[in-house]
């Protein structure tokens, strides 16, 4: 499993890297600021990210929020501070875990493994939601385009559908795209 770590203090970062490698993880990127973490998450596409909270430029929680906007991945916040406001901010930002410093080697594997597993489950369910939403949107667009064709061209329902399908086949584009383009042009 490829891990991104973000920690501004060099010694702690080295320590964390060693700890992770001993536990069998591959540290694929090291960030020293929140901004770097956002950048490295994008370029390295790690399987999981461990983010310190107090870092220059951008704190770990804000970095988590930005990372999740473009690169969905499980994030575990690592911090010496566990005040309620920080914890709530982390939970709101989308963190799957929160490790309080100092932590033991034994705390790492479960935190990372549970975060990864539950993240995968969430991502899978969301993908299902998306495919359903997409399917419904496609259906609506095609129904509407079909109606427009029937009215304007005096076609039967079946012929209107066939025309849309042919356009899709000829152009090599999904019927939804054809339908949307048709709606856009004719309304």
């Amino acid at each position: 499993m490829r891990v991104l770590i973000a920690e501004d203090e060099t010694l702690i970062r080295l320590d964390l890297r060693q700890l992770l490698e001993r536990a069998g993880f591959d540290v694929c990127a090291e960030a020293r600021t929140g901004a770097e973490a956002v950048e490295l998450a994008r370029s390295e596409q790690p399987d999981v990210a461990l983010l310190d909270v107090k870092m220059p430029e951008l704190d770990g929680i804000e970095a988590a929020r930005r990372i999740l906007e473009h690169t969905p991945l499980p994030i575990v916040i690592v911090s010496a501070y566990t005040e309620r406001t920080l914890v709530s901010r982390a939970a709101e930002a989308g963190a799957f875990g929160y490790l309080a410093k100092p932590f033991r080697e034994d705390d790492l594997l479960p935190a990372i493994a549970t975060a990864r597993a539950r993240f995968d489950e969430l991502a899978e369910t969301r993908a299902e939601v998306e495919s359903l939403t997409e399917a419904l949107a496609a259906r609506k667009a095609i129904e509407r385009a079909k109606g427009i064709l029937m009215e304007r061209e005096g076609l039967s329902e079946d012929d209107a559908f066939k025309r849309l399908r042919r356009a899709s086949q000829v152009s090599g584009r999904p019927m939804r795209v054809i339908a949307e383009a048709l709606i856009e042009t004719l309304t």
Partner: protein, 170 residues
Amino acid sequence: MLRVLIAEDETIIRMDLRQLLEKNGMTVCAEARNGLEAVALARECEPDVAVMDLRMPELDGIEAARRMYAERPLPIVMLTAFADRSNVENAIEAGVFSYLVKPFRESDVVPAIHAAVARHRELLDARRTVGRQPLGAVVVSVPSSNGGVWPVSLERRDDGSLDVKGIDAL
């Protein structure tokens, strides 16, 4: 206010947990001393989150978690003295959201609960959205030239998940 079920066979740790959770603004709605009690009490008090020991008499925490989750999905935080991979994997497979190794500190438990609750809520929302889609309406009854249904058909597989056949499948 979060309502928490605690399952822990050692009285001292159970009391400690209760104090710690109450101090952090949570309500302990049930205390179980073994896995069977945990399942029964979860049914009765419908907690927002469960904090469970792994090794308990009657029924261990992992099997209890599995049964609780099957009856009513909720975020579960597992507490245990054992951090070995197979226990972690079993817990994950049972649906556990967070896994903490004893001895634990207040600063381990409280953040774990909040993160688990927030992420589990997202998961439930996503699942509800999937369940809410009007399945019947998605299948179009207008016959296409090849006699199929159009443009998408949705089917429940035997395991309850959805099989989505898109336009490209026709």
